[in-house]
Every structure is written in C-alpha cells, then in structure tokens.
Amino acid sequence: MAMSKEELKAAILKKAQTAAKPQLYVKDFYECDPDSKPRDVKNAANDLVKEGKMDFWSSGSTTMYAAKGRAKDEEHRG
C-alpha cells in the first residue's frame, strides 16, 4: 500500500538530507516508496520545496532536488 503524503514527504526529506550526493533526481526518490506513483512522488517533493525544506537545483537542462542548504549555486563553486 502506498504511503500517505506526509509519510512520503518525510521519507523524501530524509533521503535528501542523508544521501551521499547533495542533489538528487526526482527518480532517485521513487525508491522511498515503490508503491507510490511517480507523479505523487514529484508532487510530494514539490510540496517540500514550497515549504522551504528543499530546493530545486538546475543546470538549465536538468533539474534536481536538494535538502535546504545542501546544494550550492555555481557562484560558490570554483
């Protein structure tokens, strides 16, 4: 059975905060709940962005998600 939206958001946030890589593709969150549909996972990740707990990181051609504070702008890279 698929997780509730709040459970899914908690699982996504935990993965975003603890994954070795600071930025993750939306597909990387599918494994948080294999029973949830991809669209539900995307919606939950977007809710976390709206709540200020996650950020979008985009190269311009690809977009990834990161827990607040983990991703950096190119401005701050060498």
């Binding site: 597909k27 991809p38 995307k42 962005v49 985009s58 690809t62 190119e74």
Partner: protein
C-alpha cells in the same frame, strides 16, 4: 566610452552584416554592465574557453524552471556580469505580440536586467539575457501582476510548447495549431513549472507537413497537421500555371529568369513517390501513394490544396545531439483528429500514456526518444496500445516486423534462449 579593449571582437564589426558586438556596445550606453559582457567575451576568445558557469538553486519561489542561473568565473575582472541569469518567458502562440506588450517587456527588462534579449530561443521562449539574483523576484512579480506574462520552461520540465502561425495566416494549416498549443500550455502548467520528468520534454505543433516549427527534428512530441483524403486539385488553375499566367511558388523565385514553368521537371518528376503524372494538360495524383511531402502544393498553391479531411500525424522522440546523435521523431500515430470540441482528448490520452511510462522507465537525463531506442519500438507501441502498422517501418516489405508472443498463438511454445545460442552464435 569602452571599458575594455576588445580588438578581436572589433573585427566582427567590420563586415557588411549586422554585428552583435555593435548592438551590445549600443546597449552599453545605457547599461554599463554590457561592457563587461564584451570584456569577458574578448577574454574567452583569447583563452579559447568559456568563462561562464551555469546552474544552481537560483529561481523564483515555487517555480522549478524558467530561470537559468549564470555566473562569471572571473567576477572580479568583470563585476557587471558576476551574475548574469537568463529568464525565459512563455511566448504567445505563433509569436504574435502587440507593440505595446513588447515595449512593456523591454522597459521591464531595462529596469531589472541588462536590456539584452534573444528573440526567440530555440524552444520558442522569449529569452531575457542577464540579471542578478536580487532582481529575480521583483521582475517576476511585475511580469505576472502587471503584464500577465508567465515564465517558460527549463530543466527537467515540460518546455514551453510552441507552434506555427497555423490557421491565423496559413491556408495550408490542417489543425488549429494556436488553439492546441494554448490548450496544452494551460493544461500542463504544473509540468511546465515543476520538474517531473527524467529530462526535458518538448511539444511542437505544425499546421501542415511543411513543419515550419521543425517539430519533427526538435520535439519529443511532434504534432503535424495532415489530411487523409485526396489533395484538392483545381484543374483550371493547373492550366494557368502551365500557361504562365500564375507564377510557380507564388512568385517566390521570380527574382531571376528560370525559364518557362515546366510542370514535369519542377513538380511531377520531383514527387518522391512518383504518384503524379500528366494526361494532356490534366494533372493526376494517385493519393494512396502520396507521402504528404507538400512539394507540389508549395509549387502550385493556387491549383493544389491539402485534402478536406484534416487532422494530425503524431511523432515521438526527436532530439538534438547531446548524449547520442541527433535523432528525428518516429511516426507513432499516422492520423488523429485534433479537435478543441473534445478538449483534444485523444492527444491528451496519448501524451499522458507516454509520460506515465517514461517517468517510470526513462533513465535520468534520457530523452523519451532515447528510452524508445533502448527498449525498442515494439515495446513502446505495446505500452501505448498502438497496433504496429507498416508505416512504423522504413522497409515494411523486407522487414519482418510482425512478432508473435507465445500466448498469442494457439498452443504457444517453449524456447530456451541459451540452447538456441549454442547453435546460433550472436
């Protein structure tokens, strides 16, 4: 007064053609940061490497697209372009603007950005080049609240849908491209603004097979207007082309004397499927063999018109050469009615079927055309419940494209692939 010496760029002002260097210098008179664009570009020409970095968390609240972060890697030398973000605006269908709207956008960009624009980007957006992070939210507020203007797509989103002029100006349009483009833009706002996909996804709508937005080469989902009955022929007008009363190609090539119009040489013999011939001064077309190349219609627009039973061909999977090579779209649905009356229901069902499969099965940074190549067209067709047809195959007469599954044949069969490979090395 130039802020940097730019001898290499100055060379680009010497030809007879318009120069972007001259344009940027002119813009620098009111926007001094534009001198730093020229300075940095001169440095890039000398170093033979870009000095731009792109990407990051920059954007406007709630949107996962529309802004592309861009930074100089030599900001102390060129502080005017330390931040130089790109803003993509969703262009109107067919790129029709009022001058008042264009002035308002340019005034706003003069206020919050460099004043430089790219009309239009290859996806179709109106591209505003160069602003700073603090200016993004105020710019977005004014765009949306005062100009009723939204951002376009970027990143792993549905990119801004685009279309040709369609029925607004073109007699060949077989579908109302502007209506379907607008409807899909409004229906899929969430997909445009919030990243949902493994990679970018583009829609493009062309009214006829001339495909003026090059959807067949540039979009993941290409909708091209077509007809399924016969090309409409006005034989009296054919005779007027033959007599020279009507100019071929609507007079487009009349600047030079090409000699008398020769229908055999210029139309009949150039038909790719050889489906036309002349009987005296009457033009005959075997429409079952027509591939909708549009050549005859383009040459004799007053004599030939697309058929009356109109709809669209749907193709999937074009892309530019990022990972593999460039790839044209593959025809999936030869003919589909594209009607606003049922809110484009058939098209919507197809789009959502493709997305549901691709979101689950596409790899990160894999365009849908690459996913199809990886799994094979038969698998993709099965996902969409589309029956394979000869038109899916380049050479249907020599390609045994019909495959049977064991459960589709009475009695079925068992097959041990390893045993088979022992006898038939791959």
């Amino acid at each position: 007064m130039p802020k940097h010496d730019t001898p290499l760029l100055d060379e680009l002002e010497k030809g007879p053609w318009p120069s972007f260097v001259t344009d940027i210098k002119r813009q620098a008179a009111t926007k001094p940061e534009c001198w730093d664009i020229l300075g940095q570009l001169e440095l890039s020409y000398r170093d033979k490497i870009t000095h731009w970095k792109h990407g990051g968390i920059v954007g406007v609240f709630g949107y996962g697209g529309g802004i592309v972060g861009r930074y100089s890697d030599v900001p102390t030398k060129f502080p005017g372009v330390a931040h130089f973000h790109t803003v993509r605006l969703n262009q109107p269908s067919g790129m029709y603007y009022s001058t008042a709207k264009l002035r308002a956008i340019c005034d706003l960009w003069q206020k919050y950005g460099s004043g430089m624009t790219n009309m239009h980007g290859s996806t179709g957006d109106l591209v505003l080049l160069g602003t700073t992070t603090p200016n993004l939210e105020p710019l977005f507020y004014e765009l949306t609240h005062n100009l009723n203007q939204d951002l376009g797509g970027s990143g792993s989103n549905l990119r801004t849908p685009s279309c040709c002029l369609g029925k607004s100006r073109c007699e060949w349009a077989c579908i109302d491209t502007q209506a379907v483009c607008y409807a899909m833009t409004m229906k899929y706002q969430d997909e445009i603004h919030r990243p949902a996909f493994p990679y970018k996804f583009k829609f493009k709508f062309s009214g006829c097979p001339n495909d003026c937005v090059a959807s067949i080469a540039r979009s993941d989902l290409s909708v091209i207007g077509t007809w399924r009955d016969n090309i409409r022929i006005d034989q009296a007008a054919v005779k007027k082309y033959l007599s020279g009363e009507y100019k071929s190609n609507a007079g487009a090539h009349s600047g030079r004397d090409w000699g008398k119009f020769d229908i055999k040489k210029e139309v009949v013999n150039l038909c790719p499927t050889k489906c036309m011939h002349m009987e005296g001064d009457t033009l005959k077309i075997d429409d079952a063999e027509c591939t909708r190349c549009m050549h005859c219609i383009n040459v004799m627009p007053r004599a030939l018109r697309p058929g009356a039973e109109q709809g669209a061909t749907i193709l999937v999977g074009a892309k530019a050469p990022i990972l593999d090579g460039a790839q044209f779209a593959t025809m999936i649905i030869p003919f589909m009615k594209v009607d606003a009356e049922n809110e484009f229901e058939d098209l919507v069902n197809l789009i959502e079927g493709i997305w549901d499969w691709w979101m689950e099965n596409g790899k990160n940074r894999e365009r849908v055309g690459e996913s199809i190549q990886r799994v094979g067209l038969p698998t993709f067709l099965k996902v969409l419940n589309v029956e394979p047809i000869p038109q899916h195959i380049r050479e249907p007469r020599s390609n045994p494209y019909v495959f049977w599954e064991s459960e589709e044949v009475e009695g079925g069969w068992d097959r041990d692939v390893r045993e088979f490979r022992k006898r038939h090395a791959q």
